[in-house]
């Protein structure tokens, strides 16, 4: 993974010293809250319902064991012994004290981490495929480009005061595991007929109050021109984005207002002004690429006798292998997905003990590599098949071997009204109720792939618009109600879900999801996922079943 150089470290040291001074001035009364708030937000520090929340950037979801152990230590020392992984592949601590925040920043800096640009109207943490460097599907390693974008966008003077926050995703595989089309810019690595590397550039995706799926404005941008093209997009946005109305300030609204073609032509005109020289020197690209050089893999048979024997001997392990293992590009290896969705627990939460266990496992069996997914899970991208049974046992010992990846209980949920100052309704407890309904793993496997995503307000941190079943908490005459949508997808077949019908009360949501699943099982044809069946039948049978049941 990428290691900071002295310039990075000096910059972080300056920044944490500056933040320490800002906190001291606030505590002494030299800064008012109105003056201090934008400063703390620039360092990822929010004030939520019960305490301060610190959002720590995990660049493109990539961690090493030292960093994860440091996060575990911070959780134990300064929080209540756990952290919460988010849909931005970041980590949030929900019980932070203001006076401790500068010390925490110093501890983060000691392992090349920080919380800069995890808030504010700037370019946020870049999302990348959590299987990067491990999947045979990829054209190139997206982390190389995500890291280059991180360096370019960090404290970029021109793009630190955009009309609104800005999110970029980089993927390099046909299967999109980044939700690229819901980002302000989605970059899909491709090769042209000559073998040259480039990007399909999608712009204007986003969720929140007005959901849009990103539109392609350039089918193939030569990779050597990426940064000038990003600059051109951001300049058009900076010039015309709606600063007068926060609800219309995202680039998606601008792209929709201008139309894709007009927006694209303005970007091209801006790009023309910048010139035609390559914008990332080959030497710098090579330096960054060197940090992601392919790991050294042993030559192993494609079939592991130990792995096959363990599956036969232990049905629970066989279930884990069916659901949580993905093919690796190298024979004899696997990608292991670690679910943070134990039945009845808080989606995305991870205790300090669990973080330390994952760090140990990654060190012993996983080439020191850990990834965070936008679906609030972890990934060990490089595990020998021979070692998977030992990894499973070690995960199981700390409650991290739930075999439910992509199944109905693998639910995305934002912190919701339990923690968040903006939320209208709870999301976590709704997720807990649904997961308990599908606690039977046989039934969950029978249902198959089903992505349930829950947000506690219209800001859509839980990605409800793109859930196969999306659930949005609303405030209806002062009570928690939930609007359900069906047929959304955040993957390569991205779509915004369709409303099911009137909002349901809190205690009817899990029951309604159960009814939706039963309707799917009744209606599905061979091999159809929930999403496929919905796309074939439309909303009618689902709506009829839920509202017949509820009323």
């Amino acid at each position: 993974m990428y290691r900071y150089d002295q310039i990075d470290r000096d910059m972080l040291a300056d920044r944490t010293a500056e933040f320490r001074g800002q906190v001291a001035r606030r505590l002494a009364g030299e800064l008012t809250e109105d003056q201090f708030k934008p400063l703390r937000l620039r360092n990822g520090l929010y004030l939520q319902l019960h305490a301060y929340m610190l959002r720590i950037a995990i660049p493109y979801g990539s961690l090493n064991p030292t960093q994860l152990r440091k996060l575990a230590w911070i959780g134990r020392t300064y929080d209540k012994g756990y952290g919460h992984f988010t849909t931005r592949t970041n980590l949030q601590f929900h019980w932070i004290k203001l006076a401790d925040a500068p010390d925490i920043m110093d501890h983060l800096a000691s392992v090349d981490m920080h919380a800069i640009q995890t808030s504010g109207n700037c370019i946020r943490n870049v999302t990348a495929d959590p299987y990067a460097g491990a999947t045979a599907e990829e054209i190139d390693d997206p982390r190389v480009w995500a890291e280059a974008i991180r360096q370019w966008s960090t404290i970029h003077p021109e793009f630190n005061w955009l009309p609104r926050k800005f999110k970029i995703a980089v993927t390099a595989a046909a299967k999109d595991r980044t939700a690229a089309k819901t980002h302000d810019i989605g970059l899909n690595l491709k090769r042209d007929r000559s073998g040259a590397l480039g990007f399909e550039v999608m712009v204007g995706g986003g969720l929140g109050r007005m959901p849009y799926i990103g539109q392609t404005i350039r089918p193939f941008l030569p990779a050597t021109r990426l940064f000038s093209y990003l600059e051109a997009i951001l300049r058009v946005y900076n010039r015309h984005g709606r600063r007068d109305n926060i609800h219309k300030a995202r680039i998606k609204v601008l792209v929709a207002a201008l139309g894709r073609d007009e927006f694209a032509s303005q970007v091209e005109a801006e790009w023309e002004k910048i010139g035609h020289t390559p914008d990332l020197p080959d030497t710098e690209l090579a330096r960054i690429r060197g940090a992601f050089a392919p790991k050294t893999f042993d030559t192993l048979p494609a079939v592991s006798e130990a792995f096959e024997a363990a599956k036969l001997a232990t049905p629970a392990f066989a279930r884990f292998a069916r659901n949580n293992l993905k093919p690796h590009k190298v024979a004899g290896y696997a990608i292991v997905e670690v679910s943070l969705k134990a039945i009845g627990e808080t989606p995305g939460d991870c205790s300090s003990e669990q973080m330390e266990a994952v760090a140990d496992i990654a060190e012993r069996y996983g080439q020191d590599d850990i990834r965070v997914t936008h679906e609030q899970n972890l990934v060990l991208p490089h595990v020998k098949l021979d070692d998977v049974a030992a990894v499973w046992a070690a995960l199981d010992a700390v409650g991290l071997a739930t075999p439910n990846m992509n199944l109905v209980s693998d639910i995305i949920a934002c912190p919701g009204l339990d923690y968040c100052a903006l939320a209208n309704a709870r999301a976590i407890s709704v997720a807990q109720h649904i997961a308990r309904k599908f606690a039977d793993p046989d039934r969950a496997e029978l249902v198959g792939e089903l992505k349930v995503k829950i947000s506690g307000c219209i800001n859509a941190c839980g990605h409800h618009h793109v859930g196969h079943i999306g659930i949005l908490g609303v405030d209806k005459k002062g009570e928690e109600f939930y609007q359900l949508t069906l047929g959304g997808s955040g993957a390569e077949d991205a779509a915004v879900g369709q409303a099911l019908g009137p909002a349901l009360p809190y205690d009817k949501v899990a029951e309604a999801v159960d009814t939706l699943v039963e309707t799917y099982l009744r209606e599905r044809h061979d091999g159809e996922r929930f999403l496929d069946t919905f796309r074939r039948t439309g909303v009618a049978p689902f709506k009829e079943a839920v509202y017949a049941d509820v009323h």
Binding site: R26, L27, A28, G29, T32, E33, L47, Q48, L49, H50, A51, Y52, K80, I96, K97, L98, A99, I246, T346, L417, D418, Y419, A421, L422, N424, R426, I428, S429, Q432, D475, G478, E479, E480
Partner: protein
């Protein structure tokens, strides 16, 4: 009836106004009749305490099990802690906590409305 609440500056802790001081337990908060100007006076005083608390505001109360509880569900969660884990203020238990847990009536929180206005 109303109570005055805020988050403590140093740690973000949810606090309530009591005789010119801030306390962590809702059960110890001063209660102000709806038409009692003392509530707004306390709020004005609290807003001048810039190194003590952040964003003080009055919340509406309702009766539950013979005790007072915030009308708003959001404010009850602030007074109790999150519902997914039992490690907020609710961990202390007792009659006052029980009253908060069983309270009903959820008008939108004044704090939430203020937040929306600020956005």
């Amino acid at each position: 009836m109303k109570a005055l609440t805020a988050n403590r500056l140093t740690d973000g802790e949810v606090v309530f106004w009591r005789k010119g001081q801030w306390v962590a337990r809702f059960a110890e908060a001063d209660l102000f009749a709806d038409d009692d100007p003392a509530g707004e006076e306390a709020e004005g005083h609290a807003k001048s305490q810039r190194t003590a608390v952040v964003e003080p505001y009055l919340i509406d109360l309702t009766q539950a099990q013979g005790l007072w509880a915030p009308v708003s569900y959001r404010e009850r969660i602030r007074a109790l802690g999150p519902t997914n884990l039992n490690h907020g203020k609710q961990a202390e238990g007792g009659a006052a906590i029980e009253a908060l847990l069983t309270a009903h009536g959820a008008a939108r929180s004044t704090g939430r409305v203020d937040l929306i206005k600020r956005k």
